[in-house]
Symmetry: C2
Subunit: 332 residues, 2 copies
């Protein structure tokens, strides 16, 4: 019989049922590589004029802006979800609230190499990417219009129009609903226990080990107890920290090593699946120092299993996280 | 420039941006009809022995149980998400909460006709389906183990293994997370205003008409102000009511008429899209008489537009609901 498991952060119940007949579908993953690009890649070196003017880049000391010679380059997104200029014009509309979609939507072009993925990146290159994430987090929070930062990477995403390795940085004037749910849960947990909910999870999982996928000096990767998706993992700093922007240099090197191993491992276990990696970090303008714990959520895009979950959010997962952790842990 | 709109029930912000370059994708819908079934259809008349024994059916007076002659038939699901028998065995597991996945998972076989859809159903047949929903709602709440009821219909669902028209009835020992979010929002709204949040929306939209898709004596269909998905609609009773189970007979006839017109309209506007129809009704065991408002959410399955929203739930919708309402309203 299946189980109902409750996520201790959000209090969300999830059905975990390894006997579901459609569990085979959960092992099928989206196709990779993506279809060939029609025309030249706007993210490749030499095509810098095809993107909006760059915001910042790491590269050779002699390099000029918007020229080749970069290692990691940040530009506004070609199809931004929100714009950086203008007024919010916050206003009511009848009983509703509305404002202009102001925000920063940048892309981090993670490598000059078009074909490469995080699994192939030299560690030094992944360190540069993570250092750039940290730099954007520290820079964008200086703009007091923005309340939160999302960093999102679609690894091997067949649906993306750009196959060149890149990630999205979004600074938003609101807190995305999924992060808000975690913050609320963490706040309530802390009010009751004076402890961080994620710290409790980490403590338990490092001892029990049944859902622990990997561990380094500074980080741990877990298959969460109430995993919503097959092979979902969370990558968390072991020491309590709410703000990714305060990541230290030694931790950054450790994190790059672990992220590369994670991507290589997912390639072995699931056959280089398309997956989404999202940074969850505390909002800029709220005191979450003690109650929130920053982390990456890594979610492979397997086939949908049961047709529930759109509006009602009833998650059904046929792969128990203990099983997923065992399969993944062997390959890391 | 796009807008940020806040849903007044849940306080969820949504990006509505009609200038998004990927908006064409939002008009592409999943293919229908589904692939042919391998082997005989277990839901067709004459194949009653292929399903678990029936729970209840409407049919010819002389008909025998588990024989042909039914108009609407309810059986346990062939691949239930949860089981009806056994103990919860509620228990902690370290810092986590877990219980056995007990619940009712039934299917309503909506017609003897294999090829038919809600758009083709005679109105009388849709009335029978809705009457059966009401009957299951009233019956399942007698089991005190269950806290909530979800009724979910996948219309023209190419992903379903069963193309015979059917819907799912789930009675659960918890409240699905998406419903819980609405309940929390409604509770907070009521505490502040002593009014139902949905009633305020209905009042405004019936006057302004810009997002009103259709209206009958008893029901109204709206494209919600902060629509998460292209062509999302909500079908609500005009008079405040929290519990679908208390639907009156006259309202039921009116509802059948409207639901049929909605399905016909979606066929004209989007080309018979696959869509999900979910009943949101108050939990059985909580006093939501005044603050919650039952409704159906109808969500056509268009292509995903922007690759956000999995864990962080950042919804981006390129079709403004005013536009969707105008297109839909013309065809109803």
């Amino acid at each position: 019989m299946g189980e109902l498991r409750r996520d201790p952060v959000t209090n969300r119940w999830v059905v975990i049922d390894p006997e579901r007949p459609d569990r085979e579908a959960a092992l099928k993953v989206e196709a990779w590589p993506p279809p060939p690009l029609p025309g030249p890649c706007p993210l490749c070196p030499g095509n810098e004029s095809m993107t909006p003017p760059e915001i910042i880049a790491f590269g050779e000391p002699t390099r000029q802006r918007n020229q080749a010679g970069w290692w990691v380059r940040v530009t506004p997104d070609l199809q931004p979800l929100c714009r950086i200029e203008g007024d919010f014009d916050r206003r009511p509309e009848g009983p509703f609230d509305v404002m202009n979609a102001l925000g920063a939507h940048e892309i981090v072009i993670e490598s000059p190499e078009h074909q490469s993925t995080w699994a192939d990146f030299p560690e030094q290159q992944l360190e540069r990417v993570l250092r750039m994430y940290r730099m954007r987090s520290l820079d964008l929070r200086l703009d007091e219009r923005f309340r939160s930062l999302i960093i999102m990477k679609n690894h091997a995403d067949a649906a993306s129009i750009l196959s060149h390795p890149h990630s999205h940085v979004l600074a938003l004037p609101f807190v995305p609903f999924g992060i808000e749910e975690e913050l609320r849960g963490c706040r309530e947990f802390y009010a009751r226990k004076e402890r961080c909910a994620f710290c409790d999870i980490i403590l338990h999982e490092r001892v029990s080990r049944v859902r622990r996928v990997a561990e380094t000096d500074h980080f741990v990767v877990l298959a969460p107890f109430a995993s919503r998706f097959p092979f979902e993992t969370w990558l968390l700093p072991i020491r309590h920290a709410s703000d990714f922007g305060k990541l230290g240099d030694k931790e950054l090197v450790d994190l790059a090593w672990l992220v590369k191993r994670m991507m290589q491992m997912l390639g072995k276990v699931l056959g280089n699946p398309s997956c989404t990696i999202v940074l969850h970090s505390a909002p800029f303008d709220e005191p979450h120092t003690h109650d929130y714990h920053w982390h990456f959520e890594i979610i492979p895009k397997t086939a949908p299993v049961a047709a529930f979950g759109l509006g009602e959010r009833l998650f059904v997962n046929p792969i128990p996280p203990e099983k997923a952790a065992a399969l993944m842990g062997q390959q890391i």
